[in-house]
Symmetry: C2
Subunit: 353 residues, 2 copies
């Protein structure tokens, strides 16, 4: 499906399903509202899926990898070779995302969106490589506009393939040495905030590295002047292939009325691109957690999303999304499986005391 078709297919949440879910929550054997955000989450999923009692069974985490020309500026504590090494680690099942996905019963789909290495073919590796890493954004656009569109549409096609295998909820994840730098640049471009407010330590740069990162982001913005009213321009000039891929995956999930659990800093940058392209996608998004990366709060505020978890995670890969998927599934099970006051023969509370 083309980008324009995807965007045009994302409709509003189903108010009738939400209202039915709210009514059911209020009949379940607990004081009304006593399960707090779990109740709200179940009602949101009802609205997304158009089902008063949604069941989440097929859980999918799409982890997209890409490399970044901007690493030449010395913005990461790790060498670029770690991107393909970690992709192989994902394929072998040894990474954190593998452990957490097994724990929550999700399948991980690993996608090469633009790793700067020739990857050995692997039955579990989805090849959507747009190019071998982006160009260095301090010298010009990270990618061309056509590549930005390609990354979005390729990301969407990954989700469309997974929908055919069964996908009730999408979690997003990323891998890419240096990718907190373009993510920060995307956030700065769209929010108008200075780099110093948004840039963080990523995998663990020291104070000098942090200052260098902020200067690199400022320079990339000055050189490229991305248009904040044109998310495609922002993606092309200061984004990355995995960021575009994740934004496209989110658009496809929402177009098919599936909830999207957004992971940390990089996935949230992708969510900002998706919302820039299709503002009506916002209620389909669930923020899994607040990252330790300092700018994440600014990004979540811009998206008007309140994260479910705050555990000082800063790994990416979809690790926070895996935990967020578990909470979302738990919320839906409560809505579906709990007994009502009538069924259980429990007296209801007074209106007020």
């Amino acid at each position: 499906m083309s980008l324009q078709q995807l965007i045009s297919q994302i409709g509003p949440l189903d108010k009738q399903a939400m209202s039915a879910a709210r009514s059911r929550q209020d009949m379940l054997t607990k004081p009304q509202g006593s399960l707090g955000r779990l109740e709200a989450l179940s009602i949101q999923v009802a609205g997304i899926t158009g089902t008063p009692r949604p069941r989440i069974e097929q859980k999918v985490i799409v982890t997209m990898a890409g490399d970044h020309g901007v690493v030449a500026e010395g913005v990461s504590a790790y060498p670029q070779e770690v991107t393909p090494q970690m992709v192989y680690n994902f394929l072998a099942g040894g990474a954190a995302i593998n452990v957490l996905s097994r724990y929550v019963g999700a399948r991980v789909v690993v996608v090469d969106m633009g790793v700067a290495a020739e990857m050995e073919p692997h039955p579990k590796l989805v090849d959507k490589k747009v190019a071998s890493g982006t160009a260095n954004m301090v010298a010009g656009p990270a990618m061309g506009r056509a590549q930005a569109i390609e990354s979005l549409e390729s990301g969407a096609s990954v989700v469309e393939n997974e929908l055919a295998r069964g996908l009730d909820i999408l979690g997003t994840g990323d891998m890419g040495i240096g990718n907190t730098t373009p993510s920060a640049a995307v956030a700065c471009a769209l929010t108008g905030r200075p780099a110093a407010d948004v840039v963080g330590r990523g995998t663990g740069v020291d104070d000098a590295g942090l200052a260098r990162k902020a200067a690199v982001v400022e320079k990339a913005l000055a050189v490229n002047r991305p248009d904040p009213d044109d998310a495609l321009d922002v993606l092309a000039k200061v984004g990355g292939f995995e960021i575009g891929g994740l934004a496209g995956a989110m658009l496809a999930a929402a177009a098919h009325r599936r909830p999207v659990v957004v992971d940390g800093f990089i996935s949230t940058a992708a969510a900002m691109i998706a919302v820039g392209l299709a503002p009506q996608i916002r209620p389909y998004l669930i923020a899994a957690h607040r990252s330790q990366e300092q700018g994440h709060r600014i990004m979540l505020d811009w998206l008007d999303l309140k994260p479910l978890l705050d555990l000082d995670l800063r790994l990416g890969e979809g690790t926070g999304a895996a935990l967020g998927i578990a909470l979302t599934e738990a919320a839906c099970r409560i809505l579906d499986e709990m007994a009502t006051f009538g069924e259980a023969g429990v007296s209801e509370g007074e209106e007020s005391l």
Copy 2:
């Protein structure tokens, strides 16, 4: 085991196991510390269990029920008959705690610590009834000192039975109409804070009910003058049978080197009693969540515990503990199952950039 024996068996965490767990976390294929509180949690469990790579398999949530004479003062939005009705709902599998326990793979053990009704025998109901509800604490002690000891030792015996069936982690839960009132009184007695700071809306009282609740707590404290340096005195004068039972369950779990995931407001009051009796139990405790009940923050601060979740829950039953158990298990799986840099052939980061 007697209360004194239990207390004397609670030793310090195993520093060697914690150090081995820390070393392993630092060799796993992720930037050091990037899984934040999940890393710390796995190391805590290593220290509790004395195992460098602890596995959590048998998960048990003990949900203890009791009634409270103080409901005569009109402190709850629900009638007292709801306590036994909800116990039957637990036994039938229709309550929120049943749904969440099924989801996280925990077994629920339902205990009658002092329900003010004759309960029909049920194979899944553990009968540890100390009395048919406490006395009204505004007129004198909620229970006698011997009953307080009985509630603690009975609670411990429940956990000792479950240990024989297999218990790798304990979650705590409560049911008892009116029990936020004695829990608030316990917190006031131990922290010295005024009732207005600690008392909340419980299942949902209105402003007048809230003011009445605070006045009731102040009166109970004035009438009984519990000794803040004697947790047994606090439990007896302004506590409850399920609060004592849960404190005893925590002591038994810690005496056997098992982690304890503490649920919300009532369980946290029980944790305060446990810490008052045995200060060395504190590192065995994991706070599952911050309740919507306003005084909970004060209680957690007094315990120096930082909750894992903040989802505006205020149901009790062990619902927050179920989610906290899942996070703890996930943290331990990461420690145990992830590949190291060496195993995965991934390059390590530089010391600093």
